[in-house]
Symmetry: C2
Subunit: 450 residues, 2 copies
């Protein structure tokens, strides 16, 4: 059977959902279908929390209600081919669906390193698949010794969550000097490490995995130090790569970073095909080079750009480039970053000034729930433009980073942030006298004047 | 005795403190003295919480540590006169202090309405004075029936705090149709009213006080409806006016709004005298007319501008005008506003479009601590510029409003906010798929296109 739609969206994650919903808002008369190869979508950033916090994997389902509310059809099937000549997608059930405009939101695939023994039973990557996660959850509750290979966000958050399960020994092996060290400067990474260590997590930094030992099933993880860690379950969280299979087969351009090439409006090299989310190439906001950011927040921002501009560049808008905006929460400690770290800014060749401020996120500090908060801001020395920021604090740091993120996107200057007007309240924020974004900017300005 | 200082700051609140500290950062070699008429300063926004939350008034002291750390001298005395001819201030202890640059941060005085019986015992305004607050705290614990006249921030927060004290009957009398209704649109005001009513607070809106009854001491509050409320303690919180006594006596210009006239750099009509905080005239960011905003966050932003520009306009900067940025927290509900409300925007003559979004401040919503969050954004229809925003939510709304506040200050457009990049995390923020600032902007854009 072959049906004809105006808009076909391929994918099961947030980027697919938001592309379709945005397309509906901007083009109320078009027929729209979303095709995905899983019965139910998963909220990607909630995955670490299905093991204990949420009681059940089913609490982390991406709801289909927005599809129904926006009259978007849904097909559960795998797209096996895109035929650009006749503008249709071919499904694994043999059906064909015609499109006027196609949006690829095919996501990413976990990287599997070619370490000896990596194909043994008991070694898992993290897949955005409900059935798979249900199975993994059961295995976790049977395990005693879990080794997490890779200390990025997934690794750190899984370790935090696993440490809430009684009787489980949890270790992280990280090849770089610190966990989370591609997203944060070292002084922030060590805060996360301290929290995890207090919770009993063992961290092996500056360490490679050289072999997975055991017969059919993994029994140990051999490190570059010679040490062998007991393991009955291994999580491989060493990164992900864009899932570009369909696009490559269809002859679309692939970017230098390995994602599907897209222009400022998320159009691929075929003007009727858009790509959004992890599968699409990201350009760095600062350097315009490709950047390997894979986040739902980035993906949904791209999805909104694509959805609006499917049939016409209605309102002039653009993808200004990707700012890496991260936040994580480890046992009551929030760490968050936006834009360039000090480390990365220096690597890229920026002449920078760093401003720091410490404070308390309530005022006076004796208000219940008060938590220390630290803000670090990185500015271009001569232009005074904000390039990046990092926050360590309580839960409010999860939105403080979004003030910094907006300031980066709007090219705020240190002298502007230094006299920023903000709302403050004893129960909710730091005191106006020491609001840490303001104080960090002031610290930076005083260094610029030297 | 007469001493000579380079910089003399007059005041005991945050504006005085931050002026002095900023002056020290920018002018490390100048001698600086802060003169105040109270032994210890009080954190103004913490005052409502000294009655129960903080156990003691002494937990709300504005610390003098920054003075010591920045080598700022301190004199406890009342300034009775400024002599501009010989550039000195005269103290109530007879001493004279010479200045090169003088900063007036003399604050505000509570308004006392000329209601019959207003001078009876048991009727109190709120003063930023430790001794006075200690006395008032004792009186509150002796009281049974407290009537709060005026339902602005002070009135609402005092009512919330008093309702935590067992056995106390608390009422608010407000002349306008809702409490908090100069800061919020009505749908937000009613959220606060519902919370307070659930806590047993009685609210008399659209109601005037016509008389305070009783002999020497207040016994009742007679309303315009004829009803008489029992009262053994009354809080008068009907506003404040700039304390301009010293400035007027010295012949400085007074603005149309009753505050000390200041230019963009917080300089008064005398180039060697600056004024900051509640005593200084505020210009509205939007209309350039005077606006009666009296907030510590506004005051400290002004203090930073004054401190930096005392001796030279070192870095070109300006007070762009005051954005009213408020937040409050009532029994677990945060209400926050920045810029113009819908009501005020229409009154001022703006042609506006309103965007609304509702969501949950964690994702999935089953994450512990999740709270509903509502965002309302007000845009100029033709220019697309953000004019104001309001948030109702959990504690994170206290920083969400600061994203909106920065967006107003940086003249963000609806189409920019619609594709905003933000950091999101299950434990910390709404989902990226329905981030409420983005969704409210999208709602507004769809109405602009109609």
């Amino acid at each position: 059977m072959s049906r004809a739609y105006d808009v076909v969206v391929v994918g099961g994650g947030p980027a697919a959902l938001i592309s379709a919903v945005t397309a509906r808002k901007y083009y109320p008369d078009k027929s729209i279908v979303l095709i995905r190869d899983v019965e139910k979508g998963v909220i990607p950033c909630g995955i670490p929390y299905v093991f204990k916090t949420l009681d059940s994997v089913d609490k982390d389902i991406l709801p289909d209600k927005p599809l129904e509310a926006n009259k978007i059809e849904k097909i559960i099937a795998k797209v096996v081919k895109v035929d650009r000549n006749i503008k249709e997608v071919i499904l694994d059930n043999g059906e064909h669906e015609k499109y006027e405009k196609l949006i690829l939101a095919t996501g990413s695939l976990p990287v599997v390193l070619p370490i000896p023994g990596v194909d043994k039973k008991g070694i898992y990557t993290i897949k955005k698949d409900l059935e798979y996660l249900r199975m993994l959850r059961e295995e976790v509750y049977k395990a005693k010794n879990i080794v997490i290979v890779g200390g990025g966000f997934i690794g750190a958050e899984f370790a935090d969550e696993f440490s809430k399960i009684d009787g489980l020994n949890v270790s992280i092996v990280e090849v770089l000097p610190h966990i989370l060290c591609q997203a944060f400067d070292n002084e922030f990474c060590t805060l996360a490490e301290e929290r995890l260590k207090e919770k009993g997590v063992k961290i092996y930094a500056n360490t490679k995995v050289v072999e997975f030992t055991g017969a059919d099933t993994v029994e140990g993880v051999k490190l570059s130090t010679g040490e062998v860690l007991d393991a009955d379950l291994v999580i491989l969280s060493v990164g992900a790569r864009p899932n570009t299979h369909l696009a490559e087969e269809a002859g679309l351009w692939i970017g230098r970073g390995g994602g599907i090439w897209v222009d400022e409006y998320m159009r691929t090299s075929d003007p009727n095909i858009f790509a959004v989310g992890d599968c699409a190439e990201k350009r760095c906001f600062f350097t315009r080079r490709h950047t390997p950011v894979m986040l739902a927040s980035t993906a949904t921002a791209e999805a909104r750009i694509a959805g609006a501009n499917l049939y016409a560049l209605k309102v002039v808008r653009e993808n200004k480039g990707t700012i890496a905006n991260f936040s994580t929460y480890i046992d009551g400690l929030t760490l968050a970053a936006a834009g360039l770290t000090e480390k990365r800014a220096r690597q890229e060749g920026y002449d920078i000034v760093v401003g720091m401020a410490k404070g308390v996120d309530r005022h006076p500090g004796s208000i219940p729930g008060a938590h220390n908060v630290t803000v670090k801001l990185i500015f271009s020395r001569y232009s005074g433009i904000l390039l990046g920021g990092q926050v360590a604090g309580g839960e409010s740091a999860g939105e403080i980073i979004n003030i910094i993120s907006l300031a980066i996107q709007k090219r705020a200057l240190a002298v502007e942030l230094e006299t920023l007007q903000m709302a403050t309240h004893p129960w909710l924020t730091p005191a106006p006298t020491i609001y840490p974004i303001v104080n960090a900017a002031m610290d930076a300005v005083s260094k610029m004047n030297q």
